[in-house]
Structures are given as structure tokens and as C-alpha cells.
């Protein structure tokens, strides 16, 4: 099922310690269906291990972010949500009217990446983009 044990072992090889907290936090992120908040991760792990502190969650997420193993994105709630990047690169369309979230294949971003690379000599790291706007249904409804 989830192949995040590779991630854990990769962490160890870079020099980070393999603690039960880190494994449980990774478990929690991997077992959810994406877009998990720090608080949700905290609660999920606490169900089995009540001593886990929220600061450990944030510190672990910071580590995983720095290593580009998880994405951190605000999808409209006002706080960050986390998702394993190893599940496959993708992006999202979020309707400001109904709140609906659509998935966008990563390939849609390639033309933008290439243009930026060619015209600005800049390597864009677009890992998990939240694009806001209006979905078709809502757009139609607002006319009647």
C-alpha cells in the first residue's frame, strides 16, 4: 500500500534520526487521502500515542518540506495543508463560489515552466499549486 517506508529510510541515510514520532507522522500523512492539516495529523497520531506534541508535528513537517517530500498549500481554509509529493505531482482548481476542488495534471504546468526557464533563466519549483477561480457550473448559475 503506502510506500513511505522508503522515505523514512531515505531520511536516515541523509543523517536524520529514525524516531517513532516521525514514522507515525508519516503514517498519518500517507494514510489520509491528501490535504491533511497539522492538527489533523496531530490528532490522528495521538489516537495511538497521546504524548505527541503539536510542535513535533510542525518540526517534522518543516523537515519534510525542506526535503521536498511533502507539499504545504493553503487551499482556501486559511491554514496550511500537507500532502506527500511521492503520491504524484498534481495541482488543484478551487472554485471561489462553491468551494469545489478539481485535480489538474502536472503536465499543464510544463509550458509555463519552460517559458520561465527560457525567458528568465529561472528554475520554477511548482510542486502543488492552488489555482482559484470559478467552475463552469457556478459560472452558469450566476447568469440564470
Amino acid at each position: 500500500m503506502s510506500h513511505h517506508h522508503e522515505i523514512v529510510e531515505a531520511l536516515q541515510q541523509i543523517g536524520y534520526r529514525l524516531t517513532p514520532q516521525r514514522m507515525m507522522i508519516l503514517d498519518a500523512i500517507a494514510s489520509g487521502d491528501g490535504h491533511t492539516s497539522a492538527e489533523e495529523i496531530h490528532e490522528a497520531v495521538r489516537a495511538a500515542y497521546p504524548y505527541l506534541d503539536i510542535s513535533t508535528v510542525y518540526r517534522t513537517l518543516g523537515l519534510l518540506k525542506a526535503l521536498h517530500l511533502v507539499s504545504e498549500t493553503d487551499l482556501g481554509s486559511g491554514h496550511a495543508q500537507y500532502e506527500l509529493l511521492s503520491k504524484g505531482l498534481h495541482h488543484h482548481l478551487i472554485c471561489r463560489e462553491c468551494g469545489g476542488i478539481l485535480d489538474v495534471d502536472n503536465s499543464f504546468l510544463n509550458p509555463l515552466r519552460q517559458a520561465i526557464d527560457q525567458e528568465h533563466d529561472f528554475h520554477a519549483e511548482i510542486e502543488h499549486l492552488a489555482i482559484f477561480g470559478m467552475c463552469n457550473a457556478c459560472n452558469a448559475n450566476l447568469r440564470g
Copy 2:
């Protein structure tokens, strides 16, 4: 020089009241060179009018956001920065290494917008995007 008086009068016509606070807040945003934080706006106006409260700044910014008159973007500092959209649509490339910020013409986003529109029937409102990555100079330095 700054043409934000049009904005003020437009506000009035939609039914909003023309208060000195709103005018001073708009002045502050317009006279800065873009990317102003709520706290900076607050301090700038307070220099002339010490009674202005930060909540009034946030409420005004919320109004201007809802009317798509200002953009609200986190460019890496962790808090929101505001900029008049009437100054012309553009986006930014932000280097994670050196913190440098480049400007990107809005036309770079058109292919993405069109693809999203055609494939997902979704109207993307990309008004002021912050794209993180690595600039050419930093990329070269990291090899030596």
C-alpha cells in the same frame, strides 16, 4: 500620478461610503512601490492620522480584495502583502536561495489559463502569482 481616485469613486458608486480612512489606506498602498503589508499600511497612515486602527486596515483590504482591486499574496515572508491590481497584472519568481524577486509578464500565464479553460471548464483568476524556485545565479553557485 497615481490614479486611485478612480478606484475611490468607483467604490462610492457601488454603494460604499467614502471615508477618509479608506482614502488614506488607498493612498498608502498606491504610494508604496507594491507588496505592502497590512502593518506597513497601518504605520504609514498613522504617521498622519494616529487613530487609525489595524482592524480598519484589514477590513478595507478585505473589501478591496473582494472587489478585485488589490491582490493578496504571500511572497515568502509568511504573511500577506498587498498591491494595487490597477498598476498592471504581473507575477513573480522568487528564489528560495537568495530571496531575489523577478517580475513575470502576465502573458506567460495565458497558455495555462487556456488549457484549464478548455480541459476543465474552469475560469482561473490568476491575478498575482508567487512562483518559488531557484534563480540562475544561485543554481550556478551551488555547483561551483
